[in-house]
């Protein structure tokens, strides 16, 4: 019953300028932790705030996928933007929240491949390894030194020494722990069967690197 009431509210006629999205009421004004399902529905109905929430919630995932491919910064930025624009156009067709993370990561992956095959510049390896923000000044800035917490700085340094595949996989796992193996496979182009073993190997390698330093 409550759900029906909320749905009715969320679908108030567009002529009503004061229409309140269902999730805004349910979670209390200003304290919004709406479900992805509510956000998708409200964004499809034209609600900018619902859209903003969706972008905030999933931008880490989309960024992790683009960072998992060897793209120059400008190309990563293009892929990121194209992925969200693509979602804007497909909001009406994508109502199942279960599929959103997979849809976003697959879309981003395809865009990465297009851009790579268009023959645009690849990102230099040093850039990847150092985790340098290409927006920053030229030359590798000691990002790790900026970290106040020493443990975090150590982890950052160890992470930078991992293989590219490990970094890509772990970045994706921490960005969106709910992805299935199939979704990870589609997002990074790693065979489904090797995701579990690779993940285990990457984690233990990271631990080894930390112990070396510790």
């Amino acid at each position: 019953m409550a759900v029906a009431v909320e749905r009715a509210r969320g679908r108030a006629p567009a002529t009503d300028g004061l229409a309140i999205p269902a999730w805004f009421d349910r979670y209390g004004r200003g304290v919004a932790d709406p479900s992805t399902s509510d956000l998708l529905r409200d964004a499809a109905g034209g609600d900018q705030r619902a859209w903003d929430h969706l972008v905030e919630r999933y931008s880490r995932l989309v960024w992790a996928v683009t960072r998992g491919h060897r793209l120059a910064y400008a190309d990563s930025a293009d892929v990121f933007q194209t992925t969200w624009l693509r979602l804007v156009e497909h909001l009406g067709q994508l109502r199942d929240p279960e599929h959103l993370a997979g849809w976003l990561s697959t879309t981003a992956r395809h865009e990465c491949l297009r851009v790579l095959r268009m023959g645009r510049r690849e990102r230099p390896d040093e850039d990847v390894a150092a985790g340098v923000d290409p927006q920053g000044s030229a030359g590798p800035s000691p990002e790790a030194a900026l970290l106040v917490d020493e443990e975090r700085a150590t982890v950052a340094a160890a992470f930078a020494r991992l293989s590219e595949r490990c970094r890509a996989l772990l970045r994706l796992v921490v960005a969106e722990p709910g992805l299935s193996y199939i979704e990870i496979s589609l997002a990074l182009g790693i065979p489904v069967g090797s995701i579990g073993p690779t993940r285990g190997r990457c984690l233990s390698h990271l631990r080894d690197l930390l112990e070396e330093r510790g």
Binding site: A43, G46, Q48, W51, D52, V55, E56, S59, R60, V62, W63, R67, D75, A77, D78, V79, F80, Q81, T82, W84, L85, R86, V88, E89, H90, L91, H110, E111, L113, R114, V115, R117, M118, G119, R120, R121, G131, D133, Q135, A144, L146, L147, E151, R152, V155, A156, F159, L170, R171, V173, V174, A175, P177, G178, S180, Y181, I184, L203, L206, R207
Partner: protein, 157 residues
């Protein structure tokens, strides 16, 4: 895979790693803002033409970087083929040459990151647009009369 599937020690470690990555490689703020602003491109009544073929994905993995790229968009019986080539010096702009089959739009609007560019079509449904900034683009075909516009899926060029 969910966090619950991990050993508690791994879970803790991954949480730490997540915090570290947020510091050393955060999603750039301007990109998040641009993605949020992307919502203004939403079209309510338009029909969507999906990207159904892209020569860079469908062809061989290694190809000449200066060969023109062909994109095909399809919506029902209407199809739109666009050739994308470099425009001018450097890798910052594109030249689009396209043809629409199945319908004759009055004009074609090329929507891109910095705005849009509207060009006419000739008697054969052909059009040409340049320069278009490299980056995400989508085409909106507008018709005379009441037919709703047809917009293509966004794609990076």
């Amino acid at each position: 895979m969910t966090m619950a599937e991990f050993e508690p020690a791994d879970r803790e470690f991954l949480t730490l790693l997540r915090g570290v990555l947020e510091e050393i490689d955060p999603v750039p703020g301007p990109l998040v803002e641009a993605a949020q602003a992307a919502f203004t491109w939403r079209t309510v009544d338009a029909e969507l033409a999906e990207l159904t073929a892209d020569s860079v994905l469908d062809g061989a993995a290694v190809r000449a970087s200066d060969a023109p790229r062909l994109l095909t968009f399809t919506a029902g019986a209407v199809s739109l083929v666009v050739e994308v080539a470099a425009s001018g010096v450097g890798d910052v702009a594109r030249r689009l040459i396209g043809q629409i089959v199945g319908l004759r739009p009055a004009e074609v609007e090329v929507r891109h990151a910095d705005g849009s560019l509207t060009v006419p079509t000739d008697d054969y449904g052909r059009f040409r647009a340049a320069p278009v900034p490299a980056g995400p683009i989508s085409l909106a075909l507008r018709f005379a009369g009441r037919r709703p516009p047809l917009v293509t899926s966004w794609v990076t060029v």
